[in-house]
Amino acid sequence: MDLYLAALLQGLCFSGMAVGIYLSMKIFNIPDITTDGSYALGGVITGVLLIHAFPLYVTALIVLIAGAIAGAFTAFIHTKIRINALLAGILVMTALYSVNLTIAGRSNLPLIGTSSVFDLIRLTNEPTINSLIVIVIISAVVIITVGRSLKTDFGLAMRATGNSETMIRALGVNTDRMKIIGLAIANALTALSGFLITQQQGFADVNMGIGIVIIGLGSVIIGETLINWLRVTSIMLSLVLILAGAIIFQIVLAVTLDLGVNPNLLKAVTAILVLLIVGIPRLAFDRHDQV
């Protein structure tokens, strides 16, 4: 059970990133590869600041701002310089590797004796349960904040930018600014995941961002499968299901490890399990629709 609690914990830590990718991919239709870079940026800044005994809230604020700047850069390159969105993300992600390395000064920063968000609340003596409570609260705050934001006039304008850019522009909305702000928010949330994961795993590493966008995309696609399957239209509930996708993705990995699969087949089995999760509801749809 401890393994699955740990997987649940890790999935919840990734929820910020999943929501961020949901914003960029689904709401803005922008495939944002900046994720790899901004996630590691969040992690590295967290490592450096906590090691230098900065307060947690200051660290979190700086992490969010740094992530936002990274995302804004990508959006700026895409909207103002007219570079393809995919390439813009790749360029920023590539540049962030050097930025992260410079900030960290070395590749790996173990956190020894540093403060942690997971120690803020002491409701129980069981560290895992205690961490779980903290992360559930943080995830809830993130989802409620983003969910409520997307329902405001500003949020509706952002969503419309992704749906029909020409129409919303005709209505007087500055779509370029919408994209810049949207990707800033998305990458701020991604950096927040870096902040949480660094404390959860006990170290920051400049290579921790490599491939992380795959986990984010996997989470969003699983979440979308749930959204379509349960026919959800509420934005708040959609975000909750994206969160569920992040959790499911990590639990699939935990299941794979628990099965005692040959290490060489680890990724293949994980891929197959995710395929089953995404594919079965679709088959159920087909069967249902034919009735």
Binding site: R106, P110, I112, I197, V255
Partner: protein
């Protein structure tokens, strides 16, 4: 509403899976964590297992179970693997490479961790403000002193052509040991009147370009330093150097088997073996009294006879030929 009918079954299935526990047959369990795939570093695992077998613990006899997991370079997977072993819990953890050792050290304070192919706790920054390493860290570690000796092989063995020797090397500035080693070698080269050209490399994908860039600067020898990226890309480096008739010297004995001329440094197999001996002692006594991180004991001067002949290098006595 038919779709909601599936939910109870899914939740039930999940509950069943998560409650599943393997029945223990009483044999102690070793959790072996590898951070990524590599032909040279894999020798440490072989050494570790052989040490256990030599002390009577083998899976064939049924008196031990070794669960091996490889994160394949993914940190989230590495974290999950360590979580799994800590959750079971295994009787001891064996960790190969720095990242695996750091991850395990940050996840558990009670399960003994036997490190290999890892730096000292100080160099990995795993010590606290009082300079104290975690109490459950054991195994075999290495510092950087041996690199001086391995680098000195070059002026000693290489026939002199020009007034000043030019040595090229690749380092990974995002790897602490690699950057530290490069800095140390740079200082040493300065004292020896050797010109050192060092180029950065972050992933094996760029190895071809970086190596050929180095070779374009007319280097006399290539030094392969202790770096995972160099290990991964070694065949690429080797092929390019052979074309330009540039011999490779290294501090890792495992690379000599793969085509370097000569090396002085830790034998990766022996590194794992030494950690395995400690693990065997712990399994016998279940006490950590007397155990602490040890420096690598077995370092070797090795050379590759075929390669040495190819480059007309006369190898003095005291060097051991690899097969």
């Amino acid at each position: 509403m038919k779709r909601y009918q599936y939910l109870p079954f899914i939740l039930l299935l999940f509950a069943v899976i998560s409650c599943h526990q393997k029945p223990k047959n009483g044999a102690p369990v070793v959790g072996f964590v590898d951070a990524f795939e590599d032909a040279t570093i894999a020798q440490a695992k072989t050494g570790f297992e052989d040490a256990l077998a030599k002390n009577g613990y083998s899976q064939q006899k049924g008196n031990i179970e070794i669960e091996y997991q490889n994160a394949q370079g993914s940190i989230p997977t590495l974290t999950q693997i360590v979580n799994k072993f800590v959750s079971e819990p295994v009787d001891l953890l064996a960790t190969s490479t720095t990242l695996a050792s750091v991850t395990a050290s940050q996840k558990t304070k009670t399960i003994p961790i036997f490190m290999m192919v890892s730096p000292t706790p100080e160099r990995a920054h795993l010590v606290d403000a009082n300079g104290k390493a975690p109490a459950n860290l054991f195994g075999t570690v290495e510092d950087l002193n041996y690199i001086d000796t391995s680098f000195l092989l070059i002026p000693k063995l290489l026939p002199k052509k020009n007034e000043q020797l030019v040595v090229g090397m690749i380092y990974n500035q995002s790897e602490p040991q690699s950057a530290d080693a490069m800095q140390r070698i740079k200082e040493l080269a300065g004292k020896l009147n050797i010109s050192l050209i060092a180029l950065p490399l972050n992933s094996s994908a760029d190895a071809q370009l970086v190596t050929r860039s180095l070779l374009g600067k007319n280097i006399d020898a290539f030094f392969a330093n202790p770096d995972n990226t160099v290990f991964s890309a070694f065949e690429t480096i080797l092929k390019a150097c052979e074309e330009r008739h540039v011999p490779i010297f290294t501090s890792e004995a495992g690379l000599v088997q793969r085509g370097a001329v000569a090396a002085f440094g830790a034998d990766i197999y022996q590194w794992g073996y030494q950690s395995g001996l400690q693990a065997a002692q712990y399994l016998r006594t279940h006490k950590v009294f007397g155990l602490k991180p040890e420096m690598v004991k077995v370092r070797k001067r090795v050379y590759n006879a075929a390669v040495a002949k190819k480059y007309n290098i006369n190898v003095p006595a005291g060097f051991e030929a690899v097969k």
